[in-house]
Amino acid sequence: MAKLILLWLKCVVLWAIVEAVFEDQVGKFDWRQQYVGKVRFSHFDTHVQSSKKVLVATERNVFAALNTRTGELFWRHVDKTGSEGNIDALLQHGQDAVLVVGNGRLLRSWEINVGGLNWEVVLDSGSFQSACLVGQQDMVKHVAVLKKTAISVHYLSNGHQKWIENLPETETVDYQAVYSDGNGEVYVLGVVPHSHIAIVVYSMEDGEIIKQVNMSVEAPWLYNIQASCVVVGQGMLTCVDSAGVSFYMLDLHLQLQMTQVPLQSLALEVDPGFHPVLLSHQPNPARQPLSEFFLQLGPDHYQLLQLNNGQIAAMRDFKPALLVSFATTGEKTVAAVMSPKNKTVSKCEIERSLPSRPVFSSRAFLHIACSVNLFSAETGRRLLDTTLIVNMDPNGGKPEKLYVQAFLKKDDSVGYRAMVQTEDHTLTFIQQPGRVMWTREEALSDVVTMEMVDLPLTGTQAELEGEFGKKADGLMSMVMKRLSSQLILLQAWIGHLWKLFYDARKPRSQVKNDVTIENLSRDEFNLQKMMVMVTASGKLFGIDSKTGGILWRHYLHNVPPNAAFKLMVQRTTAHFPHPPQCTLLIKDKDTGLGTLHVFNPIFGKKSHVTPPALPQPILQSLMLPLMDQDYAKVLLLVDDQYKVSAFPSTKNVLQQLQEMAASIFFYLVDSSQGRLSGYRLRTDLSTEQIWEVIIPPEVQKIVSVKGKRPNEHVHSQGRVMGDRSVLYKYLNPNLLAVVTESTDLHQERSFIGILLIDGVTGRIIHEAIQRKARGPVHVVHSENWVVYEYWSTKSRRNEFSVIELYEGMELYNSTVFSSLDRPHAPQVLQQSYIFPSSISTMEATLTEKGITSRHLLIGLPSGGILSLPKMFLDPRRPEIVSEQSREENLIPYAPELLIRTEWFINYNQTVSRVRGIYTAPSGLESTCLVVAYGLDIYQTRVYPSKQFDVLKDDYDYMLISSVLFALFFATMISKRLAEVKLLNRAWR
């Protein structure tokens, strides 16, 4: 028996071996894009003049170096998600970049050329406040880290702690900033809110307190030093008070008293309601900061000021100016100012002044050209020939940050490049006089939801479709139509041949194969699709699935940061000449109010259809298979009064809804109250609750609810048994899998629950409780099975469990499925397995007709995407092999599921932090398109049953055609020879 099992396993292994791609297929139909996220800190590598690096530390806890020529990544380090990997500060000196990570938990130094780790030290606990590099005699050798209660100084070379000192009077004083200007002293600045400033001066050598100032410097208006104060010139702490509309200055070396300088005395006026902000620059941590600094007086108003002998003097007024930045190269420091180029800015101002109402209109940010100019920091004079035009993307956001890389040209004048960060998280790198070198769409590092939409047919394809779509009108006209369309096809083919011929004469480099929005068309097998991606920042993208090129982008302004999105395809491309239509439901989680954004998924343009205004908070939406006269599917929106509104709501639709109302049901799951409830639609579009299931939220919490995907097809209605009878599947389209987790997380008492419930009737089909198990639970619900993964606290391992539902040996009703008429409960089979890794996300493959066997696509935290055949997760896997089970091709049960390396569909293309996997059918039954998104985006195709409907990539056309031709000629020749021979014989 053991031998038999072994043989069988061998068979399985051999059978399943050709899953991975071959070496020459790498990159042929898959691509990966790597992102870093919204930039929080950025530094240009300035220690070498010709350096091409820009360091970025992002809000997604990524530290990376970008190539300033191409925008590609040199290297990238992805830290833990959440606050544990949060990058608090980025300091750069020479070849080292020092990072404070995880609220002051770790101090790390990276070598920026290759991205290697120099050292890492664990800091003492305490919440992080501030960090700075400390220099002495023009040498920067230390880094000071200020925490809530202590300050520590570390060597830059090896991270060793030089000294650590507890801060005095930490109960009352809130220490917020640390400053050093290279004179051997470290200043720690703290504040007793609304009372006074506290300053502690430490000696760099041994951490001895040289001076301590408390109580004497009154500052009742101050509560946040970092927000309102900077150090300027020779250690002059300069603060701005928005309430008192004045400067306060304090010499850190003398620490006598704050001097007040009203802004009026400098003829400065703050925009009403604006909190003025100061911006200073310290080019070298071992030297004093510049005595010039910027004061922002309004959203688009900056003032360059200079501190001279304790006196502030206004140097230059910049209005309108969107962003300002300092940059230093060599000994020269310049100020870059970005200002709108033409009058359209007034529009943008209007938009800004609007209260942040959720209005998602494309008119919000009109096309703006901005210009960046350089000004000498010392004199405030504009430098000649330093204008740089920035054409803002009309579908992008407003510029948010400006990073300037200045360099000395050969004639000793200052040249520069600018990196602009806009509020849609886009990084644009621009060279003089306005050439965009690269753009990075960092919003794509946070994709929330996506859909794949078929590309439109070409004109000729549409013509053909039209021919078959139209009603028959007479034989003759049909023939004529057929002939004409064939003629058009011929014409197109000849045109294609001519183009091929024409292109062949040109050198290869000139032939452009770029996919643009104009030449988009469906390919033969519908393998190329439009990926519509919705990102958390509110930017929508249209990406070509074949190349990964971004074909359109659209930024929705005023999307609340914690919005929930739901993307629905209302009309596909199949209804020419009606344009395809997607609808995005955006719901503000705070107010509950929702808005609809209706757009064309191919071109990204906002649709002319006006979405209905939604005055009530929206609970859910559901897409009905009904269509209006324009072939748009009907979207039902359920508000908090459980009233339903339809979109589009034409008369036709309402009539259809009235007719269909009796068969339209919907369910709502309120996780906070543990309530599942089902509703029925009445003909007057009101609703009626028909069932309710309460899961007490004190005991267990509903984690997720999974229905079946509406576009899923199941070809086979049953499974063939070994004795050739059929076990029919229980294919309930209304079945929901509800996953609950216990609130008690103790490892002995925690459990997870799976509830299979009929969404129409509320009938509980099956209930399973997994004791001593804990989430996070990942669940896939498809066909007649539910697969879920959990952490078993008892055995301390990840486990998979599969539930399959069967109707039995006979179908109750083979023609229609109604949840209301199901007298028999299904048979439930369940089996569990051990999985050697935790998982990030899970999804099942999907094909056109559902003939192809299914695989589970599992995103692993290691960055791999595993394609696990569903065959291995089959509750009918027998423990004892019998003749029948062998006949059925069942693999004998083994508790362990192995991870085979050839099952990784992304070979070495690691996908960091996979959050979701999206699968879509292609025109080929064998092929399923897969997109994995997270920090990176990876697109590929999978063939769960191998490519049974396509010739292989390496199919030898040459061999087969040459053999055919050879045979053909051989027959011709031999025929001729035979004739000759016959004739000769006849002559004899």
Partner: protein, 190 residues
């Protein structure tokens, strides 16, 4: 069977025509020595010149005799019982070939099924053969039964090999997915 002319009947010349013989409607060769080909060959066999109409073989006696009648009867029974006699042989082959589906058993089954069908199709020809027999109808019946048995055996073999669509699983692919009566949607409260 070799053609009788090949053995060289001296008198019959017309069938053995070379190129020259075909051109004429008929020819009678009186001087055998003139024909090259035949003359050479016959000369090789023995230089005997036969007169016209002489045959080397003895002419059979065609008068009907009583024993012949029995012989015809026997011969007809042979024909009629032929299919039945094959059945044990077929059974043996069936047993030997087993129930696995591979090329040889399939070929065997095909042959086993095809032969009776072929025989049944050419039933009229067989009847013609049996015409001369007195028990023609009985023999025909026996022949038919034998062939039917043979084909039944083939079908049984197909059945035991699982080639017949007799189970519900064989029709599984033709079941259409049931139509959905209710429309349902919804989800977690957004």
């Amino acid at each position: 069977m070799a053609s009788p002319g090949g053995q060289g009947g001296g008198g019959a010349l017309s069938t053995r025509g070379g190129g020259g013989a075909r051109r004429m409607k008929w020819a009678l060769e009186l001087s055998l020595g003139n024909t090259r080909s035949r003359g050479d060959r016959q000369g090789g066999q023995g230089d005997v010149v036969y007169p016209i109409g002489y045959s080397e073989k003895p002419v059979p006696d065609t008068s009907i005799q009583e024993t012949d009648k029995n012989l015809v009867e026997k011969r007809c029974w042979d024909v009629a019982l032929g299919p039945l006699k094959q059945i044990p042989m077929n059974l043996f082959i069936m047993y030997m070939s087993g129930n696995t589906i591979s090329i040889f058993p399939i070929m065997m089954v095909c042959m086993m099924a095809w032969r009776p069908i072929q025989a049944l199709m050419s039933m009229s020809a067989t009847f013609k053969l049996l015409e001369s027999s007195s028990q023609q109808w009985l023999q025909g019946l026996v022949y038919l039964v034998g062939n039917l048995l043979g084909s039944a055996l083939a079908i049984y073999k197909c059945q035991s090999m699982g080639l017949l669509p007799t189970h519900s699983s064989d029709w599984l692919a033709f079941i259409d997915p049931p139509q959905r009566m209710e429309i349902m949607g919804g989800g977690m409260v957004l």
